[in-house]
Symmetry: C2
Subunit: 378 residues, 2 copies
Amino acid sequence: MENIDYKKGLEDVIAAESKICLIDPVSGGLYYRGHNITELTEHSTFEETAYLLLEGHLPNEIELKHFNEKLLSYRKLHSNLLQIIRGLSKNCHPMKVLQTTIAALGGIWDNKGTDNPKEICIAYLSQFPLIIAAYWRILNKQEIITPHKEFSHAGNFLYMLTGKVPTAKETSLLDKALILHMEHDLNASTFTARVVASSLAPVSAFLSAAIGSLSGPLHGGANEKVLEMVYEIGEESNVVPYLDKALATGKKVMGMGHRVYRTKDPRAIILQKYLKQASDSEDARKKVAILEKIEDYLARTFEEQHKKVYPNVDFYSGTLFHCLAINPLLFTPIFAMSRVVGWCAHVCEQWQDNRIFRPICHYTGERNLKYVNIEKRR
Amino acid sequence: MENIDYKKGLEDVIAAESKICLIDPVSGGLYYRGHNITELTEHSTFEETAYLLLEGHLPNEIELKHFNEKLLSYRKLHSNLLQIIRGLSKNCHPMKVLQTTIAALGGIWDNKGTDNPKEICIAYLSQFPLIIAAYWRILNKQEIITPHKEFSHAGNFLYMLTGKVPTAKETSLLDKALILHMEHDLNASTFTARVVASSLAPVSAFLSAAIGSLSGPLHGGANEKVLEMVYEIGEESNVVPYLDKALATGKKVMGMGHRVYRTKDPRAIILQKYLKQASDSEDARKKVAILEKIEDYLARTFEEQHKKVYPNVDFYSGTLFHCLAINPLLFTPIFAMSRVVGWCAHVCEQWQDNRIFRPICHYTGERNLKYVNIEKRR
């Protein structure tokens, strides 16, 4: 058989031109529309960064006001969605709930995919926190909280989730985590969104598809596994024996390494910083100490072998959500609630100069088989 | 800016190795697992061809019996799905209904994606006809028909759709159309299925995503447009003036040309043959005559310009479904009910040697912008 050189998983293959996100794998830089993620996390908000990604520039005061008004105008939950959530299995993963309800919204609102796509995208992204909070309240047999019109996107989510008005510190911490997870070039879910939208499928179709992609354990979900590992380790003094055993048995240490970065993921650096500021309980400080010891011990161990290994975005984010008293089941849905902005930005760009995605396979199977009647088959 | 050579829409880019489908663009050949589509359409059935695509070989009598039993064992509709369909907007497109309900099944059945994936796939593919028929009956305020356990996949669909026992000829015609639409290499929806499943997302997630991709007018839906064109033309004598006007004004003639084939799409040849056999009414014969005249006139016109243009699969399929008294709204859902087999076969292959899809963008946007406080922005 001829030897065909192709890139499995399309690694390093350029699949689109884009003005949205720049990753510098060597220096460990991440930029949204030319803006450094470190500056954005420090100074910006979910709303402002969403505007930046969708529109291409940071908004002035009037533009931000209009954007907020639009977002708020869609902040209500359709009663049919509650009915759908209640009709799913109680212990099904919330990503399935999210994929179903976003597809259903396409059938409830029934808007077209390409009439003012940005406006439609804003409508959909307003819905993610409402759906996730409603799922959580139904799961826990609590009443659904009516959305609060005065709160920010992040603040309202925490409010609807817990029924309590969040502190400014809590809202800000979630806001920063949302900014950090919003966009990351052609990861599998964003690539899914572009592929689906390239057939000119409607907004509900490509968003629901992207949620499905993110729901897989190789994409979303690693931060949940990191937190599980921290629980398993329990004490800082257990880190070295745990890692020695993991390395000896080939067990994967979660939250380490990235397909693109050759350095520490810049989002891990930022999350680590805010996590340390936020961890005011004994329990949280203990978890951070365990994480930092894992990072440090692995770095030193691999350095001896002239290799490098660094934390990625998932390494510190689970513990940060844990500090906000958010259940691990909700980590990937919150990732989706943030990444939806990137999905929408990429599709709006795709539609400006669209061509349907239609690659080919290299065929390695049988050829020219004869159809034999069933009674003669072995 | 540097000039980067990349393939828009990943045209001609190899994205996977596969043993499932071989397309010969030059001779116009299409093979499933090495078997010529012409032979399969002539001799095989939906069930047998689905087995072939999923398992890699044609079944013997015992294998086919087991496969049919499995398929039948899932032939019942969950009541929550009916509730979901009723909760969507009455005039929303049935592809939205299908995307929502298949995602919802993931939350109702709540099975894992990788435990015996072929068995799970069979369960899902059994559901497509039931959902489409239920949608149609609800839309038309008719009672839901209970699935018939003695009928074939195609026959049961026609039965549940109309409430009448289909003739052998009708069942056979639909069966042939299903075989023809089942698989076609890395078209956008099958590629979507592989990308989504590459994160190890569950079966409901990748199927729902693939439905979303197929729902776009650039992918599914062209056969509906061909039939509309035939209605618009009305009489055979109007074909030439219609086409002259279309060519002069740059209006697209639907159902012509294909990204891959350099010849007449082999599926169009087969559909044309069965359509001519099936068209026993005056109306149907008239429509076929219009289609053949379009094909003929375009071929001659382009030949004069030393160009070639050929019908694709969508050119004759809409009229064939029309002969079965199937409403155009259902054409793309029926395409999905067939192509789901290809989606499943590709994902089972993907999971045997998986690597997550993660291509890159070529960045052409701004760099190193400074964050300016909002009151200072223009």
